[in-house]
């Protein structure tokens, strides 16, 4: 074997992917967002890949390809670096995060009403952004035929409906950004205002941990997350391991993943099969399938999003919306003026009382999540 020349570097004591492997991945704290792999592969360093839900070296031979730049460790949502700065930037003082405004709202679009979860808001907002040509693409997740969520890049609102509704296991939503070139090619075919691939405008929908990874990348303004213009967070109590979840579903209902039409959590787990038979299973029974990293997570409402969405606390057919940033506020205002959404107006109490009550509820739920772990 040829001698490997020492790497030319200016860095001292930088934590690299080996450290990430030791501290996060091997200890089962990895949230499978795909940020490290998306960054490294987009640079074409040929070092790491996503194996199922876990990042790892492509092969032993690829270990030496590592440039030891330390960015993967820095941008991992589960590591310490940058968190202080991020908390400051997003004005986060407690577990629920900064709340610019809180509203409940529902879509006015009939199709989305049918397909979406709760108020169908995320789908509606993305539809608005596509309609008004404010984004070129969006990263969402979609079920495959075995109900495994897969990250998907969509380029127009027609593809949007497939991705509405909630997923209960994780998809590595940052991962598809790896191939920014082919994303750019698809966009350039339709729209010519892009002079370079760095000018693509995308919206990102993800769990709180994924949003955190995106924000870490954006703080450094590094490729490929620099193309994300809107970050939509989803309320997240916990996430299930896909394999374990469907093993348990099979045990409880005797249904294969391919024969399940819909799943929904409302106090208990409701599973509907393709013949419209509904099973109700206690949520506790699925505890073993909860991903390990969720046990340490203290984020329920998505503190780093522009806007976070969830069903908790909203009246029937509405979504709860927490607006975090000015960009988020502007968007919600524009969308509601354009008539895409209907805001919920409380009848029994004043708006201020209603808001305080809702914030209190979400705070309690956040504490529940922390206690549970």
């Amino acid at each position: 074997m040829a001698d490997v020349l020492p790497k030319k570097t200016v860095l001292k004591d930088v934590k690299i992917f080996k450290d990430l492997e030791e501290e996060i991945i091997k200890t089962d704290k990895c949230c499978a967002c795909g940020a490290c792999v998306a960054y490294c592969s987009s640079q074409m360093f040929d070092v790491i890949k996503m194996e199922g839900y876990s990042p790892q070296f492509i092969a032993d031979a690829n270990v030496d390809n590592c440039k030891e730049c330390g960015l993967c460790y820095y941008i991992c949502p589960q590591t310490e670096p940058l968190m202080k700065q991020l908390n400051q930037d997003y004005r986060i003082k407690d577990k629920i995060g900064f709340i610019q405004d809180i509203v409940a709202a529902k879509t006015t679009d009939e199709k989305i009403k049918e397909m979406g979860q709760d108020g169908g808001l995320v789908t509606t907002l993305l539809m608005y952004l596509f309609d008004k040509n404010k984004i070129d693409a969006a990263i969402v997740s979609e079920y495959d035929e075995k109900l495994q969520p897969i990250p998907k890049i969509i380029y127009n609102k027609e593809e949007l409906l497939k991705s509405s509704g909630t997923r209960y296991s994780i998809s590595s939503n940052i991962l598809p950004l790896t191939d920014l070139y082919s994303i750019a090619n698809k966009i350039v075919e339709k729209q010519h205002q892009i002079y370079d691939i760095n000018q693509i405008r995308m919206a990102f929908v993800g769990t709180p941990c994924q949003c955190r990874a995106v924000r870490k990348m954006q703080l450094l303004s590094i490729s490929p997350a620099h193309v994300i213009k809107y970050v939509f967070g989803l309320f997240c109590m916990e996430n299930f391991d896909y394999e374990k979840l469907f093993q348990l579903v099979k045990n409880e209902t005797n249904e294969d993943s391919t024969n399940i039409a819909k799943m929904n959590i409302k106090k208990n787990f409701f599973i509907t099969n393709k013949d419209n038979k509904v099973y109700e299973v206690e949520l506790k029974k699925f505890d073993d399938a909860v991903r390990n990293h969720c046990h340490d997570c203290d984020e329920f409402t998505g503190r780093f999003a522009d806007i976070s969405f969830g069903g908790s606390g909203a009246v029937q057919q509405n979504s709860m919306v927490i607006i975090r940033t000015e960009k988020g506020e502007e968007l919600i205002r524009d969308v509601s003026i354009a008539g895409y959404i209907d805001k919920f107006i409380p009848k029994k109490s004043t708006i201020a009382e209603w808001k305080a009550k809702k914030i209190d509820l979400l705070r309690r739920m956040t504490n529940n999540k922390i206690k549970k772990s």
């Binding site: 790497k7 030319k8 570097t9 200016v10 860095l11 001292k12 930088v14 960054y39 640079q43 440039k67 730049c69 330390g70 960015l71 820095y74 670096p81 040509n133 729209q191 010519h192 205002q193 002079y195 370079d196 760095n198 000018q199 450094l220 303004s221 590094i222 490729s223 490929p224 620099h226 193309v227």
Partner: protein, 437 residues
């Protein structure tokens, strides 16, 4: 080339646009030592951004590029890029000038301008001022491939190594070993400076405040004249194929709106002086790219005060399908295909009319360079109430302080030929001081 004795006085020129460059070359050719100070990482200023110049329709960078490299290699000219004047002392004939030199973090004389650092740099999305912020670049960056000095630069506000001590990929990737993170900002003290020339040039209205009139920034098919200049330029973001920002179609009907932010109490009160001419120039270039193009110039009054200028306008109307409409714009909307609809009053017929076009170009006002206030405080020179350098009509290149001269758009809005003429004038006055005339 002549060179005065080693202990002779030098001239400091602040600003390396076409005016500063012309002064530097004049003085350098006389054998006088010149320190040319530029805030940006490269020299050339606004002229380097332009596609063509009026009234001859010469390629701007083709005229400028030889001057740029001459400036760089001239034995009597020392170029200080990324530098600012921090302090001055003394008086005419014997100034001392402290120059703050920002670190480039790339060895200027070693860098081969290959671009490997910019390719591997993970930081993306930093807008490039040179392309009117229409394209973005990495933290290891160069304004344009032919920039002088032909060296990359690392943006310290975004660089991951300088901020977090991670990354270092450019250092690893640089074949020439030109990256030098040990560089620090430093202060250079220049003594025995005989005279100073302020040639800080111009900025544009859109640079200082968000221009939100006439749908700019709201509608993608409303652009500024500088943006059009880059869009139409062969080395610009669209490689010279003028197309609309919304759908990439070639515009067939273009409206040029004059006096944007100038001659108004809401913006600048003065006439920006060059817009009537450059608008006609831009309409002509656009026509040369596409002979089916119709241009409409919405103006208050045409100001063509210069040699051959009136003829230039007439040529525009006759040969380049430009229609001049004396009018007042009321407002702009867009239709469902993003085509701007202009509502205006035609002054000649007093009718309220509407015109749908493919693209609107705003002739934005020239304003004094940002930072002129700060510089004026440092130098102690007076500014007029628009913040241009105050001069006497009969001594147009002299500021309120003896030994400090000015030229070009630092003084008032003017075109390139006049800037060059004034630059030579300022150089001559500075030479008088040095040579004891």
């Amino acid at each position: 080339m002549k060179k005065l004795g080693g202990n002779s006085k030098s001239v400091v020129i602040i600003g390396a646009g076409i005016a500063g460059i012309q002064s530097a070359l004049d003085l350098g050719d006389m054998g006088i030592q010149v320190h040319l100070i530029e805030k940006q990482p490269c020299i050339g200023g606004r002229m380097a951004q332009l596609d063509k110049t009026f009234p001859t329709l010469d390629c701007s960078i083709c005229i400028l590029a030889p001057k740029l490299s001459e400036c760089y290699r001239h034995p009597n000219i020392t170029l200080h890029t990324l530098s600012e004047v921090q302090k001055i002392g003394g008086s005419v004939g014997n100034f001392s000038v402290d120059v703050l030199k920002h670190a480039r973090y790339v060895k200027e004389d070693v860098c081969t301008n290959c671009g490997d650092c910019g390719t591997i740099c993970p930081v993306r999305g930093i807008t490039n001022f040179f392309d009117a912020n229409l394209v973005t670049q990495a933290a290891a960056q160069i304004a344009f491939p032919a920039a002088v000095p032909a060296a990359y630069r690392i943006d310290p506000s975004k660089c991951l190594y300088l901020n977090y001590e991670i990354c270092g990929l450019c250092y690893q990737n640089c074949g020439a070993d030109a990256i030098d993170f040990t560089q620090k900002d430093s202060v250079l003290s220049l003594d025995n400076v005989g005279a100073i020339i302020v040639a800080t040039g111009l900025d544009l209205a859109e640079d200082i405040h968000t221009l939100n009139i006439y749908g700019y920034q709201k509608y993608d098919n409303v652009v500024t004249a500088m943006e059009l200049e880059r869009l139409i330029c062969a080395s610009g973001p669209q490689a010279g194929h003028l197309s609309r920002l919304t759908d990439g179609k070639h515009p067939k009907k273009v409206a040029f709106l004059q006096c944007i932010d100038s001659r108004t109490q809401k913006g600048q009160m003065y006439c920006s002086s060059v817009c009537c001419m450059y608008t006609t120039k831009e309409a002509m270039i656009a026509y040369e790219h596409d002979n089916e193009l119709e241009s409409y110039v919405f103006y208050i009054d045409m100001r063509a005060g210069g040699k051959g200028f009136q003829k230039f306008l007439q040529r525009g109307a006759k040969e380049y399908n430009i229609k001049y409409v004396k009018s007042k714009i009321s407002y702009i909307e867009v239709d469902e295909n993003d085509n701007p609809i202009i509502t205006y009053e035609n002054y000649e017929t007093s009718e309220i009319k509407q015109l749908t076009v493919d693209l609107v170009v705003l002739a934005t006002c020239i304003i004094p360079s940002r930072g002129i206030n700060n510089l004026a405080d440092i130098l102690g020179i007076d500014l007029d109430h628009y913040d241009f350098v105050k001069t006497n009509p009969f001594f147009p290149v002299e500021t309120s302080i003896e030994g400090i001269y000015t030229c070009g758009c630092a003084r008032e809005p003017m075109d390139i030929p006049r800037s060059v003429a004034e630059a030579s004038g300022a150089a001559a006055r500075a030479a008088e001081v040095i040579k004891g005339g």
